[in-house]
């Protein structure tokens, strides 16, 4: 089975304090990996490291076949989809304008935006400014962003928090369709029950180290 992400003995320090310590993780194609852990355990740092957005200071790894820390890793970034703690949207633009902006920067046909908004249930609210949108709406825009880009490696950091049951189903459907197409997903959540229902295997992150989940 293809390996989409591989970390071997990876460490990350933030402000001089170690956050991840000699961490090993392999994410294979068609796999959903769930990661739980208490606050401050390094879940978000791990997700950012997998997204190639966090410099590592020990160990080695590959993401989508490219060595972590090498210039080549930039080429695979468009194949990575990330939903982080806070939505990276522009407050002054509408939900639709944000997606059109993203489409243009990514070289995607902006005509697909309306369909993506319809799928995530935001067609009627597409002209609402982000500053006036609810947290759940912003999360749905991020889901629409994933639908537009169809990344191979999905990284979801508490992506379902703040979403109603329809929103949770939507994220779940995106994860499952990505995996069905040979991609993979790493899902971080405090909700262990939720993770165990979605992921094929769950891991627990504590004090910067991963161990098998209960």
């Amino acid at each position: 089975m293809d390996t989409l992400a591989c970390l071997e003995g990876v460490g990350v320090s933030l402000g001089g304090s170690p956050v991840l310590r000699e961490l090993d993780l392999i994410v294979s194609a068609s796999e959903i990996v769930g990661i739980s852990g208490p606050n401050g355990s390094g879940k978000t740092t791990l997700i950012r490291a997998l997204a190639t957005l966090q410099a590592t200071d020990g160990g080695s790894g590959t993401i989508l076949g490219k060595k972590l820390g090498s210039p080549a890793v930039r080429c695979v970034r468009p194949r990575i989809g990330l939903i982080g703690h806070a939505p990276g949207l522009i407050s002054e633009l509408s939900l639709r304008e944000n997606l059109i902006h993203i489409s243009k920067l990514a070289g995607i046909d902006p005509n697909r935006v309306d369909h993506a908004l319809e799928v995530v249930g935001l067609r009627g609210a597409s002209d609402r400014r982000v500053s006036a949108a609810s947290y759940g709406m912003k999360r749905r825009v991020e889901a629409a962003h994933l639908l537009l880009r169809r990344p191979d490696l999905l990284l979801l950091d508490e992506a379902m928090s703040g979403l109603d049951s329809n929103g949770v189903d939507l994220i779940r459907a995106i994860v499952e369709s990505t995996v069905a197409e040979g991609g993979a997903a790493v899902v971080v959540s405090h909700d262990v029950d939720h993770l165990s229902r979605l992921a094929q295997r769950t891991l627990h992150l504590e004090a910067g180290k991963l161990r098998a989940g209960e």
Binding site: L53, R74, R77, G81, L82, G84, G88
Partner: protein, 224 residues
């Protein structure tokens, strides 16, 4: 997506954000005009002095507030927004270029309003041929300020106290711009060529453009 298409999209979006938020023309510009009013009051309404210093005050306020315009855009970039752009494959050099394009346009607009206000309030004594000289130097200064502010914003991305740090970086690097802009009109008044000062401004703008584009990628990596 091509470099220029990305740069254009970044610039277009920045202008759209400004058209909604209105910070440059509803906040920064009125503040600068108020600052123009302060100088005559401080000088006890000595009209001859006010007329003499008018153009100098214009350059000083252009630098101070123009820098705020350029820095403001970079400061608005959250970590999450930068992450989104990185994962979309946006070339950091294209982002720098787009930012400079939008900041130049906004700074030029700001300087235009400030010039009209200064002319009305100070009735300055301007040398012959001032219009062409002022247009050329203002345009080059706007480009230089936009580059400098964007570069300082990139250098301090992700740092605490970034606004203070950015100002410290900008102040010494802005000296050639201030000199070039102010001395070009002085040269006109002395009936001398403004070419050396225009070349100083152009060289500064070019050096900042090369530096900004060349450093964009390493700076993005360093911020991670």
């Amino acid at each position: 997506m091509s470099f220029w298409a990305q740069a254009w999209e970044v610039a277009r979006t920045d202008i759209r954000i400004e058209s909604r938020a209105g910070e440059v023309f509803k906040v920064v510009t009125p503040f600068a005009v108020v600052a123009l009013l302060v100088f005559p009051i401080a000088l006890g309404f000595q009209l001859s002095v006010v007329r003499e210093i008018g153009i100098g005050v214009f350059w000083a306020l252009s630098i101070l507030f123009g820098m705020q315009i350029a820095l403001r855009q970079s400061a608005a970039d959250s970590l999450e927004r930068r992450d989104v752009q990185a994962l979309l494959g946006v070339d950091p050099a294209a982002r720098f270029t787009g930012r400079v394009m939008s900041a130049t346009l906004l700074t030029l607009g700001f300087m235009g309003v400030l010039l009209v206000a200064m002319t009305l309030l100070y009735a300055p004594s301007l040398p012959d041929g001032w219009a062409v000289g002022l247009i050329v130097t203002s345009a080059l200064m706007a480009v230089g300020l936009a580059e400098l502010g964007t570069l300082a914003g990139e250098l301090t991305a992700g740092l605490r106290n970034r606004a203070n740090l950015a100002s410290l970086i900008v102040a010494p690097l802005a000296i050639p711009l201030v000199m070039g802009a102010s001395q070009s009109l002085e040269a006109l008044a002395r009936d001398e060529s403004i070419l050396p000062w225009v070349l100083l401004l152009a060289a500064s703008a070019l050096a900042l453009a090369v530096g900004g584009v060349a450093l964009a990628r390493p700076l993005e990596e360093a911020a991670q």
